[in-house]
Amino acid sequence: MAGIGATGGLANEAFRAALKAQQDSARQLGLPGGPGPDRVPAGPGTPGGLGSVAPVEGTNFASKLEEGLADVAKSVQVAETMPAAMVSGDVGEFHEVALALKQSDLSFRFALQVRNKLIDAYREVMRMSV
């Protein structure tokens, strides 16, 4: 059950909010934390004053998470698209229905758990900035 692209979903939105919060606070501290290359200005004027830090290239935790999010969103949508799939003859087995629904449920709860962990991590980071 691979995803083809993230669309709005509850877990999806929660993810984005948590990610954005993490990225914003990371930038405030002058830490690399967002997807893609980050360039932190060197010198004592920088809040947090960490000096120059090398740019972070593409593959980091946040962008990996974004990819995984796409799969999860597609999986979660299954319960909504199931009736239409059934009527149009795309579902051929009862165990197929059951597994799709179960997968949908597991994916959603997994996403929520990860989101919660992200928010906890964000809070930790916020505490550190004081």
Partner: protein, 142 residues
């Protein structure tokens, strides 16, 4: 075509089986009822009827087989079994004392009836089977 043919293909097969055997039983009942009919609407003695079964495979829009059933294709007169001629001058339809009787044998019809009933029962069991399997599968979603 509702799109649910694939999902319920097995049930559909058993339904067809039940239907076909039902037709067979109706024809047998007709034979038994007319075992002594020496003159029907067309003036002739009653001739035994038989049902011709043939397999019926159904496919969905993608060309995938959804059910592998059967159908009672047609009801035909039994032209092979000879009619019986008996001597019964008292019979109003007698010609020169002889009457042509239907080619229906009670014992044969009973044997056919048993065959049809067994098939009917078996199809019912299969239908129950599919029901249980589906319920079990759906339980996985809990």
């Amino acid at each position: 075509m509702s799109g649910l043919e694939r999902l319920f293909g097995g049930m559909r097969t058993t339904s067809m089986g039940l239907s076909a055997e039902r037709t067979r039983m109706d024809v047998i009942a007709e034979n038994i009822a007319n075992a002594r009919t020496t003159k029907t609407a067309n003036g002739q003695p009653y001739r035994r009827q038989v049902v011709r079964f043939e397999p019926l495979v159904e496919k969905d829009k993608h060309g995938q087989i959804t059910s592998m059933g059967v159908r009672a294709a047609e009801v035909l007169p039994d032209l092979e079994t000879p009619m019986e001629r008996i001597y019964d001058p008292a019979n109003p339809d007698a010609v020169d004392g002889f009457v042509t009787m239907p080619n229906v044998s009670a014992t044969r019809e009973m044997a056919d009836l048993v065959t049809a009933m067994r098939a009917y029962e078996a199809n019912l069991k299969v239908q129950e089977n599919f029901s249980r399997m589906a319920e079990r599968a759906l339980r996985m979603a809990r």
